[in-house]
């Protein structure tokens, strides 16, 4: 159990090296990988999220914790797969066509990863066709789109229309965000949700998944 506490502390402090060592030690001691996730990693990330929400942590602390957790998870993944455990919820994220701004999208992606989601980042300037192709290939549960420019907001609608035309709309929940985007715009274009900021985006993903379950 000492290793579990070490792993918890390492993630909380964003120390990837210590998280790796603690995970290896725990596995060597015979700890079940799922126990490590449930008893160390998830509680640590919950605490990181709480500290961020109450403005005790900034994004760097949050992302470093996520990176530490991700590193530890890399050690567990093969064991989980071998044991037939189900992998995390998958999210596809990208900045829409014509828009090169990606730092907000990157923060959302990192925070989702830190919260245990499997995130596939398509990058910036992503065409509707690329979103569709990624959905067909990667079978995500969630699609997140970002835009910073007023003139690229219409690309969000075009992407949703393309997803509908490909017959994929019912397979994914679609979230949008970015400085000029509003809840009303999300409703107008047929998105499932809108988030004003990165931390709210994580909560929104969780609530959408919960309501879909």
């Amino acid at each position: 159990m000492a290793q579990s506490k070490d792993l918890y502390d390492a993630i909380l402090n964003g120390d990837a090296k210590k998280a790796h060592i603690a995970t290896e030690a725990a596995l060597a001691a015979g700890t079940d990988p799922m126990d490590l996730i449930q008893e160390s990693m998830v509680p640590a990330m919950d605490e990181v999220g709480r500290l961020f929400e109450c403005e005790e942590y900034f994004v760097p602390e949050l992302l470093l914790a996520g990176r530490a957790m991700k590193g530890a998870m890399q050690l567990l993944k093969p064991l989980l797969s071998a044991a037939g455990q189900k992998m995390a919820v998958r999210v596809i994220i990208g900045t829409v066509k014509g828009d090169l701004h990606d730092i907000g999208k990157n923060i959302v992606a990192s925070m989702l990863e830190g919260s245990g989601f499997e995130v596939i980042d398509l990058g910036a300037d992503v065409s509707p066709a690329s979103f569709v192709a990624a959905i067909e290939e990667r079978k995500p549960h969630i699609v997140c789109m970002s835009a910073l420019l007023t003139v690229t907001m219409p690309a969000m609608r075009q992407t949703i229309d393309a997803i509908k035309a490909a017959g994929l709309r019912t397979q994914v929940k679609i979230l949008i965000g970015g400085a000029p985007v509003t809840m009303q715009y999300a409703k107008d274009i047929g998105a499932d949700g809108y988030s004003e900021n990165a931390s709210a985006a994580v909560g929104l993903v969780k609530s959408l998944l919960a309501s879909a379950a």
């Binding site: 900034f58 760097p60 602390e61 090169l100 730092i103 990157n106 923060i107 990192s110 420019l149 003139v151």
Partner: protein
């Protein structure tokens, strides 16, 4: 390693006396466009505007042009009604307008036509600043010196110069591919590497090209660059409580060095409105600057609303969409706001009150935010002095950051600046990070290779 050599190095301050670092005046005023001289005693509005939500495509192009026709006409109508002494319009191209260089040139031509007509009819001194989008970061890693995006950007700069731009500017992105992740992960050496090693190399190369374009198009002034993608990103993340304000403030100071490089290559100003590093540039080069603050709240938050105006030569609204408000469309409404801001500053100056006005604007913001504190005239002098005392962009970047850190620390000790507990923790981390930075650029380069080597294209930086 190949570095584009500077055509001039600034080793002393053009404005060595803090009391001479005032709004509206600078040692090297800039005459450009249609009879306007910037930095010769009068602050002018610089109005920036953009489209409402609309796709930019062949099918909507006539509608896009109509928006710009409308915005220019309405802005100038309001400017004339308010008897502004002069005005600068800034056209920031949207990415699609840089990717299709002829589109950006067409809008440039439209705006210039309005300015010429207004100048001829009303005698309004005016100029058009044109800022193509730096689209070179489309590829990962960005190819800054070769490839389609660079070719289109170059063509956009050329065509806009030919189409009527009076001032060419840019918000260049070299080094941002490293700065973004470094910022997000709070990796201070990574930020210094991006700002002090990579960005200056790209800025030097890019501005060498921009200055050449301006030389080939007489009357077109090489304006300036902006660290918007670096320091304003930090500012916005700090505003959202995602990053410490003290970090954003230090990044702001450090970012001045990469923007100064444009002037070393021949930029003449005015610096870009979103370049809050402008006062440092003005103190070093003596060239005019544009700033934005309280009247740019249409575009973004800032904790610098008044202090940003303290040393400006142009006063800008940053960007506003062409949407309808009660008194007119937003661009003309913000023209009015800027006009009154400028009137007050100019009236104070005409009564020998510029120094008092500057200091009131400074005092109203200075210690309420670390980011405001590093923008005061006193801070500007210290940061600018630290920069010119060093001889390489890397050392200058560290010196600028340290000067900002020291200034903030003094504010904390004097109990003028109040930091939250977690801001204080970061303050300590930044100090320690400065102490651990290697003295030379080559050592830092080596140490960054493992973490960031895959994010940037070495030939793009002459490496």
């Amino acid at each position: 390693m190949t570095i584009v050599a500077a055509t001039q190095k600034f080793t002393t301050l053009a404005i060595p006396n803090q009391d001479e670092l005032l709004y509206g005046v600078c040692p090297h005023p800039l005459s450009c466009g249609l009879g306007i001289t910037i930095g010769a005693g009068t602050v002018f509005p610089e109005v920036n505007f953009t489209l409402p939500p609309i796709s930019i495509s062949e099918s909507t192009w006539s509608e896009v042009k109509a928006h710009y026709e409308e915005m220019a006409a309405q802005i100038l109508r309001r400017a004339v009604a308010l008897a502004v002494p002069g005005i600068v319009l800034e056209f920031e191209l949207l990415p699609a307008m840089t990717e299709r260089p002829e589109w950006g040139a067409e809008i440039t031509s439209i705006l210039k036509r309005h300015l010429v007509a207004c100048h001829e009819k009303h005698g309004l001194p005016c100029a058009l600043r044109v800022t193509p989008t730096d689209i070179r970061d489309q590829l990962k890693p960005p190819m800054l010196r070769t490839g389609e995006p660079w070719q289109r950007l170059f063509e956009s700069l050329e065509l806009c110069a030919q189409a009527g731009a009076d001032i060419l500017s840019i918000e260049s992105v070299g080094g941002k591919e490293v700065h973004d992740p470094a910022l997000m992960y709070g990796d201070f050496p990574g930020m210094v590497f991006a700002l002090g090693v990579l960005a200056p190399r790209d800025t030097a190369w890019l501005w060498n090209k921009i200055v050449s374009i301006c030389k080939a198009n007489p009357g077109v002034v090489p304006g300036a660059d902006s660290a918007c993608g670096f320091a304003n990103t930090a500012m916005q993340l700090a505003h959202q409580k995602m990053l410490p304000e003290v970090l954003a403030a230090v990044v702001r100071a450090m970012s001045a060095v990469r923007s100064l490089v444009a002037f070393e290559q021949g930029a003449l100003g005015p610096s870009k409105d979103c370049a809050y590093e402008g006062p440092v540039i003005k103190a070093i080069t003596g060239m005019p600057i544009s700033m934005e603050g309280k009247s740019a709240s249409c575009a973004h938050f800032s904790p610098l609303g008044n202090i940003a105006a303290a040393m400006c030569d142009l006063w800008s609204n940053e960007s506003v969409q062409n949407v309808r408000l009660l008194s007119g469309n937003a661009p003309e409404v913000f023209t009015e706001l800027l006009a009154y801001d400028c009137r007050l500053m100019n009236a104070a100056a005409s009564r020998d009150g510029a120094l008092d006005m500057r200091d009131w604007m400074t005092a109203s913001d200075e210690w309420l935010s670390p980011q405001a504190a590093v923008l005061s005239p006193a801070a500007t002098m210290r940061i600018a002095g630290a920069i010119v005392a060093e001889d390489t962009p890397y050392r200058q970047t560290i010196a600028a950051g340290r000067a900002a850190y020291d200034l903030l620390n003094e504010g904390v000790v004097a109990e003028k600046l109040h930091l939250s507990r977690k801001e204080q923790q970061w303050f300590g981390r930044i100090e320690a990070a400065f102490d651990e930075l290697p003295p030379d650029e080559a050592t830092l380069l080596d140490s960054m290779e493992e973490q960031y080597g895959g994010l940037y294209d070495k030939p793009s930086y002459g490496l």
